[in-house]
């Protein structure tokens, strides 16, 4: 038989290999090495972490391919990179340089305010953000092979990550109790593809791997998200905007593995130095929130 590449099993499968792990934002090869040495299961290559994107303002775009390639050369673990929502040419460029996963991300300035990329058109797998079950299943319908709850990136405040994870996981539980006759109306009310709602009911979980993102800054934050029921965590600004990135990165990796063991969580939480300063996400003006980007 001919070997087949770029299949749905392959796309979903790489995300399954990342489960129980931490994916870290890095802006250069040195940070990527620090992340790999700390036990990251993948890195996200980008020019500025979300906290800096917030501070700088302006338009945030795909990173320089040369910088992404340097990070790909520096580490042996998978490398992800971000493109703007709806910017399928940035995605084509990222695919052509061989990144392992593309994040169609609300952290960058959207290129299309109505449509996301049709991700089934690509061989490379995509991860997308969501705030609720409808948004998650719309993205999967477009071909996302991995989902992350959005949280509020670049804040160091876990409150939005918790809100979105509870919303998605709560809806999955709710679907288990919805009669088959009521599923179409549930799909309509949530703006979710009917076939995927049915699949969630059969599986009792999301059809693809679901990580948490946006505001995780401490080992306790990471373990909180794991106990809520996500498969792993993204940490963006939380590591390299803290006082001792290498130590904090290793501690968060351990906290995701031992998320149910409070004595280990206590041990890894000791003497980590300054956490990132943080910004209260719940009181942030709506216009500054990145999570509302996505349709």
């Amino acid at each position: 038989m001919e070997a087949k590449t770029g299949t749905w099993t392959e796309k979903k499968g790489l995300a399954q290999m990342l489960k129980g792990g931490v994916i870290m934002d890095v802006v250069n090869a040195e940070q990527a090495k620090i992340a790999e040495d700390a036990g990251a299961c993948a890195v996200m290559a980008l020019e500025r972490v979300p906290a800096d994107i917030r501070a700088d303002g302006g338009v945030a775009r795909m990173s320089d391919p040369d910088m992404i390639l340097k990070i790909m050369d520096a580490v042996s673990i998978p490398v992800m990179a971000k493109c703007r929502i709806g910017h399928f040419v940035e995605a084509q460029i990222l695919e052509s340089i061989g990144v392992d996963y593309i994040d169609e991300s609300e952290v960058l300035t959207p290129a299309d305010e109505e449509h996301h990329i049709l991700k089934h058109n690509f061989k490379v797998p995509f991860v997308c953000g969501c705030r609720n079950i409808g948004e998650a299943l719309r993205r999967i319908g477009e071909g996302a092979a991995m989902i992350r709850t959005k949280g509020e990136a670049g804040t160091g405040d876990v409150v939005e990550a918790v809100r979105h994870a509870r919303s998605v996981i709560g809806a999955i539980k709710q679907i288990q109790n919805v009669d088959d006759e009521e599923l179409m109306t549930f799909a309509k009310n949530n703006g979710a593809p009917y076939e995927l709602i049915k699949e969630v009911k059969t599986l009792g979980r999301m059809p693809v791997v679901n990580f948490a993102a946006g505001g995780v800054a401490t080992p306790a934050d990471a373990a909180l998200m794991m106990q809520l029921g996500v498969d792993g965590v993204f940490v963006g600004s939380g590591i390299f905007k803290s006082g001792d990135p290498a130590k904090r990165a290793a501690a968060i990796v351990k906290s995701v593995t031992h998320y149910q063991d409070a004595s280990i969580l206590a041990e890894v939480s000791k003497n980590l130095g300054e956490a990132m300063v943080g910004r209260n996400a719940a009181h942030m003006p709506e216009a500054e929130k990145l999570a509302v980007r996505g349709w």
Binding site: T7, G20, D100, V124
Partner: protein, 192 residues
């Protein structure tokens, strides 16, 4: 029969659900004490660097090496890397199997593939003959086998993708991502 699955990082839940499907009791292994009363251990796919660092940090290296002397262990992908003696780079390895492995041997994710394999030993053991459909993800290859290790399966071009050394088993691919339970059944026969 109780089989542990190393649950430091990776797709351990997928292995557990395959084992449950064939009626085997399971346990997640994160600390040395979790190895007690197990008849065998599966080390899942994931990132081998992450799994190795966590095994070192939680003093699992020696206990896993001891366990492997008398019990069956099966490593899939990252787990196969972790079982091996040599991968030509510096990262924690159990060194239990006399095989040389190359990480990410097929390239990056866009080169990951699915294909059918002929695995004579597996077909004999399970009394079946239909091809084994294998899923490779940023997969390693087994460059060479030494000593008592033997080749179980090769691609058409001769590259080795499964090997066995007594009760130790290494596969480059991911039986836990398919519905085919034959490899799990084969491993249980080694653990019995």
């Amino acid at each position: 029969m109780k089989i542990g699955v190393l649950a430091l990082q990776g797709d351990f839940a997928e292995h557990i659900s395959m084992l449950k499907k064939i009626g085997v009791e399971t346990a997640e292994v994160r600390l040395p004490k979790h190895l007690e009363s197990l008849d065998g251990l599966i080390m899942p796919g994931g990132e081998s660097t992450t799994i190795g660092k966590l095994a070192v940090a939680y003093d699992l290296m020696k206990p896993l090496q001891e366990f492997g002397k008398s019990h069956a262990i099966w490593g899939t992908c990252a787990g196969a890397i972790f079982l091996s003696k040599d991968i030509g780079r510096d990262q924690p390895l159990l060194g239990l199997m006399d095989i040389k492995v190359q990480r990410n041997a097929f390239g990056r994710q866009v080169d990951s593939f699915e294909t059918d394999l002929e695995i004579v030993e597996l077909f004999k053991a399970t009394g079946t003959e239909h091809p084994y459909h294998a899923v490779f993800i940023r997969a390693p290859i087994i460059e060479s086998v030494h000593g008592k290790a033997k080749v179980l399966s090769q691609l058409e071009d001769g590259r080795i993708v499964a090997a066995q050394e007594g009760h130790l088993l290494a596969t480059s691919f991911h039986p836990e991502l398919t519905d085919d339970t034959r490899f799990h059944e084969y491993f249980i026969s080694l653990a019995s």
